[in-house]
Assembly symmetry: C2
């Protein structure tokens, strides 16, 4: 079992109604890898600059994540994002983006990263995602993206989606990509492009899964403390794909594994938002994960009692 992730490794400066942090470790590959590391072996591919220190690397390596394919660009600076959230924490406002070493990033996967059976293409420029997909021999590849790429590089994004088994997008992005206002139709249109598994992420409302065999939906856990939603979607993807890799998912017909993976994805996302950046997930225990899975089960369980009239 091994899972390779390509995506951003970043410093994030974030302000929410509940506090702020300067230049904390973040990025899609980092959030994903930390969440997935509780389930399987993870290898991170991505560029960093001189400002990325041993201390930052140790956040990953202490969780057993393989950092051998993190490329140190001498003289460069790490990708930087500054943003804030107002009271509607479903909406991120970007204040500043510095691509830095990401501007000239040419992914080069080591043989070990190429051979991982599962691949996650985090939200980066779709041509880079295609480049990585071609290097990889993964039997199951998943892709995340965002409205920016749908608007500016649609053709390239669609080409990238054609080459993966699983697509993860926000529900609004799925509708935008397919130009279908109805989510069921949007999911079906997405599957027609190639992916056999489509996940619609819905922020605090949870997530929905679509395959040819059926659909599944899980609500978000009502949380008392939501301090920083940055990275929640990547933590979801980490729990989801990490679990699927651990049980060696064979394809979209394994509904039992896919549903369980959706629950673990939701668990990891729920932890992610409870504190800033990686602060909560990097300190998690397996016991806390099991406890929260049980909380999701309690949250959603009902019996099927006939009408009692």
């Amino acid at each position: 079992m091994a899972l390779t992730v390509v995506g951003s490794i970043a410093f994030d400066s974030v302000r929410t109604p509940f506090g702020e942090r300067e230049r904390m470790l973040g990025g899609s590959a980092v959030h994903f890898a930390l969440a997935a590391s509780f389930f399987t072996e993870v290898r991170v591919v991505g560029p960093v600059g001189d400002d990325f220190t041993e201390e930052h690397l140790s956040v990953l390596s202490e969780r057993g994540i393989d950092t051998g394919d993190i490329e140190h660009v001498a003289g460069g600076q790490t990708f930087f994002w500054r943003g804030h959230y107002d009271h509607d924490m479903n909406v991120a406002h970007t204040d500043e983006t510095q691509l830095n070493v990401f501007a000239d990033f040419q992914p080069k996967l080591s043989p070990e990263s190429c051979e991982a059976q599962m691949l996650f293409l985090g939200n980066i420029q779709p041509d880079l995602q295609r480049d990585v997909r071609r290097q990889s021999s993964a039997s199951f590849a998943a892709l995340d993206s965002m409205n920016l790429w749908i608007e500016t590089t649609r053709e390239s994004l669609v080409a990238a989606i054609r080459e993966v088994e699983c697509l993860l997008l926000n529900d609004a992005e799925l509708r935008m990509l397919t130009e279908q206002p109805n989510l069921v139709h949007a999911a079906r249109a997405s599957m027609e492009l190639g992916p056999e598994v489509v996940v619609a992420k819905r922020g605090e409302y949870g997530a929905a899964l679509f395959t040819a065999d059926g659909s599944f939906a899980i609500p978000g856990l009502p949380l008392e403390d939501v301090r920083d939603p940055t990275g929640a979607g990547d933590s979801f993807a980490g729990g989801f794909l990490g679990y699927l890799d651990a049980v060696r998912i064979g394809g979209s017909h394994d509904q039992r594994a896919l549903r369980q993976a959706m629950a673990y994805g939701s668990v990891m996302a729920s932890f992610n938002v409870e504190d800033f950046g990686t602060e909560r997930v990097s300190e998690l225990t397996e016991a806390e994960i099991a406890e929260r899975l049980a909380a999701f089960k309690r949250l959603t369980h009902f019996e099927e009692t006939p009408i009692a009239r």
Copy 2:
């Protein structure tokens, strides 16, 4: 078992991306009563005008609903609403409202309606809701409202909420009412006003339930055909309270019944939106309801498998 509902009886003219209808039967009391009629005895209280005919009345009476407390105001016109939905069907746009006979409505409950063990106060002016609550001897009363009353008659609405056991609101309205951006805090603040059961309606995303004993959440069923969401919240309330009345809910501690009721509410709302006005729910069968309850169970079911590493 009996359930009294007070609310609007209306003619609705609705346009959505999937069609339009002129002056179809609608209103909170009508949508609620039709949904609840599959579970328990229902009595409707509300005013209508000369334009409300035997044919309209028969939509209710054919479902066994008691219409004895529907007040015919001679020379008056029935409440009228005209609205439309664009591609985001979660947002209703009001184009015209004619209060008509509702402008001078003074609810007068018959002894039978007063004695029903359960009462639903549909979304009308909160002073009218308080008036009805005082006439009723129901042991369990539930109240729905909307942003208009939160903004224009907050004190009166809060007084009405203090007098009921259950509050149903959209999640955004719960946040607005309590001025708490976090839904868990908003639900708790609502319970501190009086209700022991709080339901947050979330449109296509489903609904969440809060009591002192715990919370429950159910996602919306992904539907291929959503033609008209008007009345979905009232159909939800009808399935929810209809089931609770049928099983003689004793209070907020009966989590099993409350969860089951949330599922039945979701079932009835999912049918409501599949066609215009009352067209789908008025023609439903118990077999279709049972089948859809099973579909919700399949949609949300997952096992609780430990991490397999």
